[in-house]
């Protein structure tokens, strides 16, 4: 606000209005994910190659068209936002157009909104007279959910407006981006975060927020999140909210919170199937239903469990996984939980015979 007024560009009237708005409405507390988003490129955890390139870019004040890809929660969006904040400073808001999957992004939007924004020319000086890079950035988050038609429509725009606009596409699966786009961008792969990096970050947040947590619990968060820092932080915060500030967070709380099914359920399931007794299987499946565990979640965990299980041979694993895939698909598509998991159980019984 202060910086805004100092520039002297705005009229006093509009300033007053803004001030009035801020006093009557309290700002809702931000989720920790937003609060602890890296502010500059050097804060980004782990991704050293990308950071090195971006640091050079920030110093030079220029940026190539970029394609960032990698698993969720590894810092793709954070990195590009931090970089552009460093490049543009206060003008950050005007120079960025961010579109993600929840915005309408059909071919029409590419033709109108993106094209119009990219055709605006950007000046090379800031309002206060300091120099700044003469381009804008369009960030297309979750670009793999754009249709191919929309992606194709982007091709020409990317080249034609390269003088005043940089594109940054962010996606999970690079294979869903059409080749003409990938060849126009420099690609950066984000790798899943290492366990110790996640733990370091969590420890930092816990210290800042005054969260009481057991030492083992960090490891459980890492296990639940699987290298996804966003999920790790969200889990931590949910747990903190639900249990209250006095409670010391432990492993059991975290598992309960995230809806992850305890390991012994998976072992029991396999054991029941090994016994080959249909009635016991049925009883077990009912029990899962009563305790309200999600069968979808169970199947997801069961894949990991089966693949690494030492007691099964390869043909058995293959058979089980084949069925697992089928059941999982049907379940997602609206099939009944009970029938799907019973079918899987029968298949395992036959495979283990």
């Amino acid at each position: 606000m202060q910086a805004f007024l100092k520039t002297g560009k705005s009229t006093a009237g509009s300033g007053d209005k803004n001030q009035g708005a801020t006093t009557t409405r309290r700002k809702p507390p931000a989720p920790w994910v937003e609060k602890y988003r890296p502010r500059n490129v050097d804060d980004v955890v782990e991704q050293s190659e990308v950071v090195a390139v971006l640091r050079k870019c920030v110093e030079g004040g220029d940026l190539p068209n970029m394609l960032l890809y990698g698993p969720p929660g590894t810092g793709k969006t954070s990195t590009i936002l931090a970089a552009s904040r460093q490049i543009f400073g206060d003008m950050f808001k005007d120079r960025i157009l961010e579109l993600n999957a929840s915005d309408e992004r059909g071919i029409n939007v590419v033709r109108t909104k993106i094209k119009n924004f990219s055709q605006l020319s950007a000046s090379s000086v800031r309002p206060d007279g300091k120099p700044c890079p003469p381009f804008k950035i369009i960030i297309l988050d979750e670009a793999d959910s754009m249709t191919h038609a929309a992606q194709s429509a982007l091709r020409r725009t990317m080249e034609k407006e390269s003088r005043s606009t940089r594109f940054c596409l962010i996606c999970n699966y690079v294979s869903r981006i059409i080749v003409p786009i990938t060849s126009r961008c420099s690609k950066f792969r984000f790798k899943a975060l290492g366990d110790d990096k996640v733990i370091d970050r969590l420890k930092y947040i816990c210290a800042m927020e005054g969260v009481k947590i057991e030492e083992d619990a960090y490891k459980s968060i890492v296990k639940i999140s699987g290298g996804d820092l966003r999920r790790a932080i969200t889990t931590l915060q949910s747990c903190y909210r639900l249990k209250g500030p006095e409670h010391i967070i432990n492993t059991a709380d975290l598992f309960e919170m995230s809806g992850v099914i305890p390991e012994y359920y998976l072992e029991d399931y396999l054991e029941v199937c090994r016994s080959g007794n249909y009635e016991r299987l049925e009883q077990f499946v009912r029990e899962i239903g009563f305790s309200a565990y999600s069968v979808g979640q169970m199947m997801e965990q069961f894949v990991e469990f089966v693949v690494h299980h030492p007691g099964l041979n390869d043909p058995q694993k293959a058979k089980i996984c084949d069925k697992l895939g089928e059941c999982c698909f049907r379940l997602q598509d609206g099939g009944s939980e009970y029938l799907q998991i019973m079918d899987l159980g029968c298949c395992i019984i036959l495979a283990l015979k």
Partner: protein
């Protein structure tokens, strides 16, 4: 006079009969100024709705219990009018968007926009947001869920969403990760027995333990069903006796008979008879997925292991098709025909092997 289920429903978090730790957690949640979107999941009759209402009361006071019901009309993009019943108070609004069938997307978007764009009238001492309770969230189409995901983020300042679902399997991950999940497991048998006994005590009736146990067995750990059964039993015979008969659910008996008929004879003529019975069930409003599950359970119960596996394999396939298709009867009947085929083949092979 209200049914026992409603009459003795706990109204405050501190008065809940089971999952007390969880109730404590929910109270912690209310104490903070911020509040996430919630998703309650658990089998039916486990007390999801009760907990949601208790939570709302804890947050807003007794004002949430002054309910009114309204019929809202929405216009779909294709200019069709859809009417949906909502139940609301000054602080919350409860809706079952799946009533609108395939137009649930419109309902979700319009309704949330309407609610979320208006601020709470008096902010003093109140929350700044309203709550929208979506029941049967797992019946929402994928389209509606994607729409929900966007609206959830956009209007987070003025509204919070509480979704109640039977299972999270059908909820897309994007929604799951935006909500704080609250697992409501079914009460265990001793908990149900003690609740039944308390209820009877308050009604001034004596309930023999044996009878209570039998009710629990029949209710499949569904507390609502257990209470309804008990009340039905009371209507049948006023002072309870230990070996009193508990009326079965009609459709379950009917389904059981249907299954035994399928086992007894496998001919096209029989198949036609079965079709009539299936129609009968559908007309009475028994949900097709329950029919499917009931049939499979009954049919499989007295078969060989190899047949069980095969039956289930086909059952899953047909059930899946039924969910994506429109005419349920086709798939139910196809499954019955397929089962007859498997069963008959098995019997004839048995005879063959006997001969040699």
């Amino acid at each position: 006079m209200a049914l026992w289920v409603d009459k003795y429903r706990p109204r405050e978090l501190s008065k809940l009969d089971y999952h007390k730790d969880q109730a404590e957690n929910l109270r912690n949640l209310c104490k903070q100024s911020d509040f996430p979107h919630l998703m309650f999941y658990g089998p039916s009759g486990a007390g999801k709705k009760t907990r949601i209402m208790c939570l709302l009361r804890e947050m807003y006071g007794s004002g949430v219990e002054r309910l009114r019901s309204e019929t809202m009309t929405f216009t779909t993009p294709s200019n069709r009018k859809v009417e949906v019943m909502t139940v609301s108070s000054n602080y919350h609004l409860e809706v079952n968007p799946s009533d609108a069938g395939m137009y649930d997307r419109t309902v979700v978007i319009d309704l949330i926009k309407q609610v979320a764009q208006t601020h709470q009238i008096e902010i003093s001492g109140q929350r700044e947001f309203k709550v929208i309770v979506i029941s049967e969230g797992d019946e929402l189409t994928k389209d509606a869920q994607h729409a929900l995901r966007r609206t959830m983020e956009k209007y987070v300042a003025t509204c919070r969403i509480i979704i109640s679902v039977n299972s999270t399997s059908r909820i897309i991950p994007a929604i799951r990760s935006r909500c704080l999940g609250i697992r409501v497991a079914a009460p265990n048998e001793t908990e149900i027995v003690s609740i039944l006994q308390n209820t009877c005590k308050r009604e001034g009736l004596a309930l023999p333990v044996e009878l209570a146990k039998r009710v629990v067995d029949k209710s499949e750990r569904n507390l609502r069903r257990a209470l309804l059964m008990l009340e039905a039993a009371k209507v049948a015979k006023a002072p309870f006796t230990a070996n009193q008969e508990i009326p079965d659910l009609d459709w379950q008996v009917f389904l059981r008979e249907t299954a035994s008929q399928i086992i007894s004879e496998q001919t096209p003529a029989k198949l036609e008879k079965i079709r009539e019975r299936l129609y009968e069930l559908l007309i009475q409003g028994v949900p097709p997925n329950l029919i499917f599950r009931g049939l499979v359970e009954q049919l499989v119960s007295n078969c060989d292991m190899s047949i069980k596996a095969k039956t289930l394999e086909f059952a899953t396939e047909y059930e899946h098709r039924m969910q994506s298709g429109a005419k349920h009867i086709f798939h139910l009947e196809a499954f019955v025909a397929q089962f007859m085929n498997i069963y008959k083949k098995f019997l004839s092979e048995l005879v063959m092997t006997d001969d040699f």
